[in-house]
């Protein structure tokens, strides 16, 4: 029955880590509303998470939007429905691909960077040094990163949605023979405000997940270079899985018939 014990141990470890992450999230939330507030660190994180992520978000979504247009055109042609390209590109990008791609790119770029930075700070005793200098690491490191991601990732998602639609637009009008004005009109007519709201809301949640996972795994890193590497890897894995799971739940809430 050792396999049963192994399953039980793994399940307990999984539940325990969920509990620790939930407590960490709760602590972050409680520090969010209690002074002192570190505005300079918050501003730096807005730049790091938001501004410096724009190129990767733009490049990812423009290629995906273009590929989406090609696929929808090819698929639609099988039953004479090529004309739906603008509508499906718009709905696909705004409802799903925009927020998910931005979330995953933020997990790859920001979560990994946060986890590696904080883990390195931990193994070099910089976190201990913060405490001895009367500075709470949660307030100084976690709160500015999570708050910045919460506020900035929806903006990135909006930018990603627009650039993704632009990718589809460019492919459709330059290679598939669509009329430019008609394409834009169809896109605008088909999108609803609830689509845009769901996209931005997903972005906010994915941003929180990405930053929180980076901070959590960084703060709980093991010793040495191996510990930093393991924390970084675990943070990106956890962020990516949680983002995809949250996306499924959100889609179910917003769009289930």
């Amino acid at each position: 029955m050792s396999w049963l014990a192994a399953i039980g141990a793994a399940t307990l470890a999984f539940l325990a880590s969920i509990g620790r992450i939930a407590i960490f999230a709760g602590e972050t939330l409680s520090h969010l509303f209690r002074p002192p507030f570190y505005f300079k660190e918050f501003g730096q994180q807005v730049l790091q998470v938001g501004y410096f992520s724009l190129p990767v978000v733009g490049l990812t979504t423009i290629f995906t939007g273009g590929a989406l247009a090609l696929q929808i055109y090819a698929g639609g042609a099988r039953f004479n429905a090529e004309a739906v390209v603008p509508q499906i590109v718009a709905i696909g990008m705004v409802r799903e691909l925009g927020p998910v791609l931005v979330g995953l790119m933020i997990a790859a770029r920001v979560t990994s960077s946060i986890a590696a930075e904080i883990a390195t700070m931990k193994v070099t005793e910089q976190i201990d040094a913060l405490v001895t200098l009367s500075t709470h690491p949660m307030k100084y490191l976690t709160v500015p990163r999570v708050l910045a991601a919460f506020l900035v990732v929806p903006f990135l998602t909006g930018v990603g949605d627009v650039i993704g639609i632009m990718g589809g637009f460019l492919v459709a009008t330059k290679t598939l023979g669509f009329n430019e004005a008609a394409y834009l009109q169809n896109t605008a007519d088909f999108l609803q405000s609830s689509d845009i709201f769901s996209s931005l809301a997903k972005g906010a949640v994915f941003g929180v997940i990405a930053a929180l996972m980076g901070c959590y795994y960084g703060m709980h890193s093991g010793r040495g270079a191996q510990g930093v590497g393991a924390a970084t890897k675990a943070s990106v894995q956890a962020a990516a899985i949680l983002i995809l799971a949250a996306n499924f739940i959100f889609t179910g809430i917003f769009f289930a018939a």
Partner: protein
């Protein structure tokens, strides 16, 4: 001033601190010696609350270190970490003035910078170091910056964690002399952990030897060389023969 009574700390089956009893009087320099992995760092981290002891009582001026206003408690301390623990993302002067730029001790930026440069000068660094980043400094310079940060807010109590580890003998001597000068000048109560006997002879008023999770010997540094404790004798002489196992 600092008193540890029956302090215990274990990590799983590893009983690092078994029963620590130690008293550091006000204004004295206590040096805790012991081999690598004997729990010296855990000892000072327990006082600071960075590690929570499993049992025992730690008091500072008679007050339980785990109770009361944590910020006010920590404001009394300065600490030099073994690796410096300087913040990579901040220039040197902001590292030194970290405490002076936030919290209860917050000063205007220019004043904090002036104090930082003055403290850097005190540890033998030129003002042009102020705008450099920690990664641009040598190990010895990083130790000095760490020392400047530890004394920046003029704390009553200063902890030094392995202040000479990784430094050449000349730089070790410089750091030891600096620590001694600063401690005398400030009248601070200090606790240093080290296994460098040159540090002990320069810095210490009193010495405590930690081994096997307890304080094996403690007394004035002047009595250290002639003490008849076999653990201390072996450690001070650096002999492989004796009650301390060479392979731990």
């Amino acid at each position: 001033m600092i008193t540890l009574e029956h302090v215990k700390k274990s990590f799983g089956s590893n009983h690092v601190l078994r029963d620590i009893n130690l008293h550091v009087p006000k204004g004295e320099s206590m040096v805790v010696i012991g081999g690598s992995g004997t729990g010296k760092s855990i000892l000072i981290k327990s006082v600071l609350g960075l590690v929570t002891p499993d049992a025992g009582l730690i008091t500072v001026d008679g007050q339980d270190a785990t109770k009361g206003d944590r910020d006010a408690f920590l404001a009394r301390f300065g600490m030099l970490f073994q690796g410096g623990a300087l913040f990579d993302s901040l220039p040197v002067w902001q590292n030194v003035a970290f405490r002076l730029m936030r919290g209860a001790l917050k000063r205007p930026k220019e004043e904090a910078r002036e104090i930082a440069i003055e403290k850097l000068r005190r540890v033998g660094l030129k003002p042009d170091v102020a705008d450099r980043y920690p990664a641009e400094l040598s190990g010895g310079m990083q130790k000095r910056v760490g020392l400047a940060r530890a004394i920046a807010a003029e704390p009553e109590i200063i902890f030094f964690d392995e202040p000479t580890t990784g430094l050449d003998p000349i730089m070790s001597g410089v750091i030891n002399d600096l620590i001694r000068e600063i401690v005398v000048e400030m009248g601070a109560t200090t606790m240093t952990i080290t296994h460098d006997m040159s540090s002990v002879r320069t810095i210490a008023d009193k010495v405590a030897m930690l081994h096997g999770g307890i304080i094996q010997w403690s007394g004035p540094v002047s009595e250290m060389e002639n003490a008849d404790d076999p653990y201390l004798t072996q450690f001070v002489s650096g002999s492989a023969e004796g009650p301390i196992e060479a392979i731990r």
